[in-house]
Every structure is written in C-alpha cells, then in structure tokens.
C-alpha cells in the first residue's frame, strides 16, 4: 500500500497524523510529512483510517 498527499488540497488538519502517528506527522509549520509512503503491512489499517478521517479527502492509499 502506498500513501500520497494532494498538496493543493491538504490544509493541515492533522487528523490523519492523529490516527496514524507511526506513518506521518505535522512539521513545525503545520505541513504534513509522510514518514512512510510505502506503508508497512502491520500499519495498513492505520493508513486506511488516516485516509478516512481526512476532512478534505487530501490523502490517498492505493
């Protein structure tokens, strides 16, 4: 599974990072940073939750 952010859409709510802190975080400027674009198998459920909670549909997992 691979995560991608649509930078034009992401407004930095960070709800994704709250639900999958092992995969992503907000930096000091409030920009989302993906720490693992290729999601390790044990984290795939967390990745799906992160995608689901993004309020503006900026995050995708394929």
């Amino acid at each position: 599974m691979r995560l991608t952010i649509d930078r034009d859409r992401c407004e930095g709510y960070g709800l994704c990072a709250d639900s999958a802190p092992e995969l992503m975080h907000l930096d000091d400027d409030g920009e989302l940073v993906l720490d693992h674009e290729d999601v390790p198998a044990p984290s795939s459920a967390a990745a799906e939750t992160a995608v689901r909670v993004c309020p503006v549909a900026a995050l995708r997992a394929d």
Partner: protein, 393 residues
Amino acid sequence: MTPTLTPHSDVDLFADPVLEDPYPTYRTLRDLGGAVHLARLDAWALTRYDAVRGALGDWQTFSSSAVALNEPVNEMLVGTVLAADPPEHDVLRSVLADRLGPRAVRSLQADIATRAEALVEEVVARGEFDAVTDLAAAFPFAVVFDLIGLPDDARPNMLRWADATFNVCGPMNDRTAGGLLVVQEMFEWVATLKAGDLLDGSMGRAIFEAAEAGRIRPESCIPLLAAYATAGMDTTINAIANAVHLFAQHPDQWDLVRADPALLPGAFNEVLRFDAPVQVFGRRTTRVVDVEGTEIPADSQVLLLYGSGNRDERHYADPDRFDVTRAPVDHLTFGYGTHGCAGQALARLEAHAVLGALAARVHRLHVGEPKRHLNNVLRGIESLQVHGVELDR
C-alpha cells in the same frame, strides 16, 4: 428497476414538527433506502452514512450547482465557494484557506481562549443566564465579526441575515420566501463595502487584496465576504448551544469530560455528530447514478441529509445514544471532501475554548426546556434558560 420499487416518501422534511425532531423521520427514510425519492419536492434524499459520504466525495457526479433546494437561490449563489465546482471552486477556496486553515488559526488560539474565559466567568458569576443569547451566540459572533473585520453598522443585523441565508437554501416554502427578502437586504448592504471599510489585516480585507493581486476576480469579493460572515456565525453558535444543552441533559457525560480534559475534542465531535448544526445541503446529479441499488436520473435535485447519516445505525452502533467516548472523527457534520467545511479549525477552536472554560469551573448547569429555533437548514436553539450553576467542588 421499475418505478414502483424505487424507495419513495411523501413526507415534508421541512414541516415544523419534523424540524422540531427530525430523527424518527430520518430513521424511517433510512429504512426505505440509501436514496429515497421525495414526492413533494421531486428530489432525492440521501439518507445513510455511506450514501451521503459517497456523494460528498464525488463532485463530478454530485455538483454543487444545486447546493440550495430551489432554483432562484441557486442562481443567486453562482460564483460563491459553496456553489462552485472545481476548478473555479479551488481558486476561491484557497483564498479562504489561507486565513481559515489550521496553520492560520493556530495563532488565534491564545486570544480566543482568553476571551472565552472572560465571557464564561462573567455569565457563570451571574448564576442565571441564557445559554444561547448570552454565551453560545455572543461568543462566535464577537470572534468572527472581528476576524472578518466588518464595520459596526452590520452588528444589529448580522445574525438575522445569517439565519435567513440558511433558510433560503431550503425548498421554496414560507420560510424560504420570508428569508429571501432579508437576504436581499443583506446583499444590498454587502455590495456597498469597499476594501477600506474592512479592518486592516482582517480576513475580509485579505479577500480584496486577493482580487488586487489577480488571484480572484473582483466580482468574487462580495460573495466570498458574504460566505464568511454567514457560514461562520450561525453554525458555530448552534454547535455551542447544542453542546451546552446536551451536557446539561447528560451530567454523566459532562463528568467524564471534566475528569479528563483530553476527552474534550472527541466529546465535541460527538456533539457535532449527535446534532448537526447544518442538517441538509443540496447537490445536482450530472449523470445517471446508482446509490445503494437505487437509480437517480441525471439532472436531479439531491438532498444530503448529514443529520441522518450521523445517526445511521449501519455506521454507528446505538446511534441515538450521546456518548463522548465514541469520539467520532468521521461524522458528516462538516461535510467532507471538496466542500468540507473551510472553517472547521476555527469552529473547533471556538467551541473547545468555551466548553473548556465551562468544564474548568462548572460542576452542573441546571437548564429549562430549550426553545428550538426552526430553520430549513439549521438545527439550533433560540433560547436555553440556565436557572442554576453549581460551581466546582
């Protein structure tokens, strides 16, 4: 599928008794199907969580050109962020997000918290107050008015204008007809505004600066300004009013929040799920589309019932129970996707500030019966008398 098999209903979703308590009606509609044809409106209600969420995530099929449920108002809304589809939408949205996104509102947090504490301190000391007019309405009104930088002569009218703006997004009923006159009045006033009328450094001024810089067309300024002013007040006001009401009704849930302030953000999400301030907005189908086995024709008016999706037993266990530990981050109250509420970071900041200030001081609020405020789109309370405050012990 033959027409007789299509889920359908004769209910008037906008009749007073349904607006007083829409949830039993929503349940009936959900049990009929994810998409139900409403005969009175010749429109399609999306009732279940997955159906509403699916439509919100698919702007190509569900266009916002019919975000209101009547054509005259949809024509009025052309050019607003709410009614625009991409790519036009995204340009307008980026101007708002610059100032409303989480990165931008972070800097407002300290000031908003201080103001919330002062107001809560004052009303609580009085012992008797109206939780809506004195607290839930007073606070967002003051905060948003200053952030947009509106001139003072709008103060006496703004809430009446905002209420009407939501009413006219309903179907063409008496409430909409009455609201149209008021909205006309608002647009006439807003249209007179020039950059210099808005406070230096305010969000309102930033809209005019975006036009000067060529990011948006000059004629977009007034609709964007109107969107800020109306979307930013009534919604948050009703969310805070609903929160106070729910916590007064459910003291056990209030005790949980007081015992562990880290629960507050999740608890506010549960308030939003339980009673969505915005119950419905519309869409127009751009093609024939299948929603949970029901075929909706192209060019149909669709109703997104956020408040029904939030109570869908297919998605939330025991949905009519108010449970702050549920912390439902995926509720539909701010919409989702392309038009997902641009002001949600600010709304959360305001609500957390007020509820946090109450939680720090108040053990119990004793309230009377709420007087509901009926609006085609909003679910809110007009007045909620507090006749006793038990302070911390």
